[in-house]
Amino acid sequence: MKMSNMHSEQLCVNMGPQHPSTHGVLYLDLRLDGEEVVDCITHIGYLHRSMEKIAENRTYTQFIPFTDRLDYVASMNNNLAYVLAVEKLLNLDVPERAKYIRVIVAELNRIASHLLAIGTFAQDLGAFATPLFYCFREREKVIEIFDEVCGNRLTYNYMRIGGVQFDLPEGIDRRIKDFIKYMRPKINDYEGLLTNNPIFLERTKNIGILSKETAINYSITGPNLRASGVQWDLRKDEPYLVYDKFEFAIPTGKNGDMWDRYRVRMDELSQSLKIIEQAIAGIPEAQATVKAGRMIKPAAGEVYFRAESPRGELGFYIVSDGSVNPYRLKIRAPSFSNLAVLRELVKGVKVADVVGILGSLDILMGEIDR
């Protein structure tokens, strides 16, 4: 019997829901032919908390703490997108100082989120502990700043409709400046550790290539889209808050492979530092909040607002019927579409690369299942 006539059965491997590198509770149904992945079916819904339905029974202010729990490593950005959506519905303009504060905290949180993404990505590839712990050390600094600003470490609940909960505490601008000074050399450390490391390059270069067309067809957003060579960043293309006043570049990749996705996140770290530096320098002295009224009652209507969260385009679609509760609230989570493309990416790769590709996409189950 010839070897070419021999057929082996496909092997079904259940990866997850409890698996250290699925970043939450994700269940991948992998079909393997030898060591090659033939098909991958993603099963989601293990973290479903029906956030959108909860929103219908809460007032507009009461829903802000729930947005913290969507993308729980970048709560500030979730808060921000939600309050901006409600403010758009109310036609409310916030004071200039509040806008600057929002930019500062959102960018700080982007750094924290990207640090986690880079650290866990390196760990998924087998760089056990070292890069992850270094990233966590720097992330801790950001979290400590947030602890001082709003009193919590992960679920901040800092943004309010019409401004922010508190003004920045005294002396925090110096602390943030110190952090920027501390962070810049640390980025070079990561470059030395990972970027050109031959093992890292072997594992990431030309693997999991996401082409420009596929990325657009699957409506991928955020660093994953930019790694494929599409220059699309809502902070630049549809500026909200005061992003149009700052100078920053949009880093893009060329091939859209795992290494490019890592590269884009690394470059975004320094761009975010640049934005924070400019925002700290230009922050005006004024009141940070505007009274939106205790009971927020927008006129009947609907609104869609999208903002650039660390994982991509986070959108809130709110339908108001004129009462104190939203009639319907839909969340467009970036990780959801970023995960959808996984099936295309893992076809034909080795099973060990599935973990790396998943890590490079930087998905977060909290906002996929909502």
Partner: protein
């Protein structure tokens, strides 16, 4: 072929670069706190358990209304001099999401959030706190709470 030699030469150099980073970090002091013996001071705005100054409370129920998880409940009665008086103020800690909306909305700052964070207990009944009892944390299992 060209790539092969390139990797052969530059690969070890980049590996050494990474090792230099780790060695530089090897001689830096430890940054972790040894938790049960060393403790970090909580920040000024830290949001711990909800606490109450019963004297300041004007029974407006705004905290009860704003709470997203319905963890607060208060009742009041008429006192001897026909003044409103707090009868009970229950705080279900297991429902609380520590968002701080209640403390923010309180007009007299009677409700605030204290710095207690070691709140694990083995008895579920202890999770329901009577905020009027001045000795409310006395029966708490953990010694540091007092």
């Amino acid at each position: 072929m060209k790539n092969y030699f390139k990797r052969l030469i530059f690969g070890p150099i980049d590996l050494i670069k990474g090792l230099i980073v780790t060695f530089r970090n090897l001689i830096t002091p430890a940054i972790t706190l040894q938790y049960p013996t060393q403790k970090q001071a909580m920040t000024q705005r830290y949001r711990g358990l909800i606490d109450l100054y019963p004297v300041k409370c004007i029974m407006c129920s705004q905290c009860v209304k704003i709470c997203p998880t319905n963890c607060l409940a208060l009742t009041h009665k008429e006192g001897p001099d026909k003044k409103k008086e707090l009868e009970s103020f229950k705080y279900k800690m297991e429902l609380c999401c520590f968002c701080g909306l209640c403390a923010q909305v309180c007009p007299t700052a009677a409700l605030y959030m204290n710095k207690i964070y070691e709140i694990a207990t083995s008895n579920r009944k202890e999770l329901e706190i009577n905020l009027l009892n001045p000795d409310k944390y006395a029966e708490w299992a953990h010694p540091t709470v007092r």
